[in-house]
């Protein structure tokens, strides 16, 4: 619990975030046309994660919220990760098996 109302971001900060998001989008777009091998999706997703983090922290005020909100957001992504990694653990290890 807190009195977070006065520490909300200012329009200037919002504008900075907005501009970084635009830059991030352009970057994703530009990099997609360069050949980075397997790093293409990695870079694209990394930029997407940074953009999402910016939105969550500033536009959604998580940076100014209590721990509970942060834990909630974290839990969402953590559980998503469980779903993805454990499902893929099956798919990716299937080819490891050599049936004689």
């Amino acid at each position: 619990m807190s009195d977070h109302s006065q520490s909300h971001p200012t329009p200037k900060l919002y504008a900075v975030i907005f501009l970084s998001l635009v830059v991030g989008t352009c970057l994703t777009w530009g990099i997609a046309f360069a050949n980075l091998g397997i790093f293409n999706p990695v870079v694209a997703l990394a930029i997407a994660c940074i953009k999402a983090t910016l939105v969550i922290l500033y536009f959604m005020h998580v940076r100014y919220s209590d721990r509970l909100t942060m834990v909630t957001v974290g839990a969402g992504f953590f559980w998503l990760l469980i779903l993805i990694t454990l499902s893929l653990s099956d798919y990716l290890s299937r080819s490891l098996i050599t049936v004689h």
């Binding site: 360069a34 997407a48 939105v55 959604m60 559980w79 779903l83 499902s87 893929l88």
Partner: protein, 267 residues
Amino acid sequence: MAINQTTTNQTTTTDHHPALAHHFDSMEQQQGASTFGMWVFLLTEIMMFGGLFTAYLVYRIKYYDAFVAGSTSISVSWGFTNTLVLIASSFTMAMSVWAAQQGRRKTQVRLLIATMILGVIFLGVKAKEYYDKFDECHIPGHVIGKGFNSWGGCDVNNPKLGNIAEEIQEKAKQAGATVPEVSAVQTAKQTEIFFSFYFAMTGLHAFHMIIGVGLLAWLTVRANRGEFGPAYYTPIELGGLYWHFVDIVWIYLFPLLYLISRHKHVA
């Protein structure tokens, strides 16, 4: 939490704000509960989209070439534009929450309307993209799309209409390689599953956008009535959280659907 002192006269402390529901003790508590509730709801949304993302990943690994071909056949410039539009709408949304906190009614209403317009533009672009796909017969499903033909498009005789097999060969030629026809045709057929995901994911996202625009309209009416101010701006804050979440989903959808291995096919 854990206020341990025994406060007895909780109901008579402050003057009663009209928006305070009977079962809350204070506006603070009500706002805290509502915001937290919204976050828990967004948690469920993450998992809902998460299921789709997981399935998408599995098939992306399984039919990588088809996903590349499918992804190449959708317009990256429209997707890029839409990303910018949505980011801009997130910005105006954040600003309108700020305006509500500052008690600036006019700014708030204008920003909300701006957000709504951007949202509608997004949906318009999306509709245009859907129309293009429909035109090219890149519609999955053996009922609505009647299944993909072997060329992954409407008509073998009219290769100009979104003929994926043709595109694959064309792009490969530009990159200095050759892809035989049988191979291109097979890959083209497999793009159907990519388009299933394309429509399922963007469709679910667009559905959220439509709800979001409706929500914004309602908020605009309330904001115009001057209901929100520094003391009470919870609904507009919650609407904002929802809108930003929808934005975040798109931030992931854009690279996952539009930008699979674009470089391979550019001369």
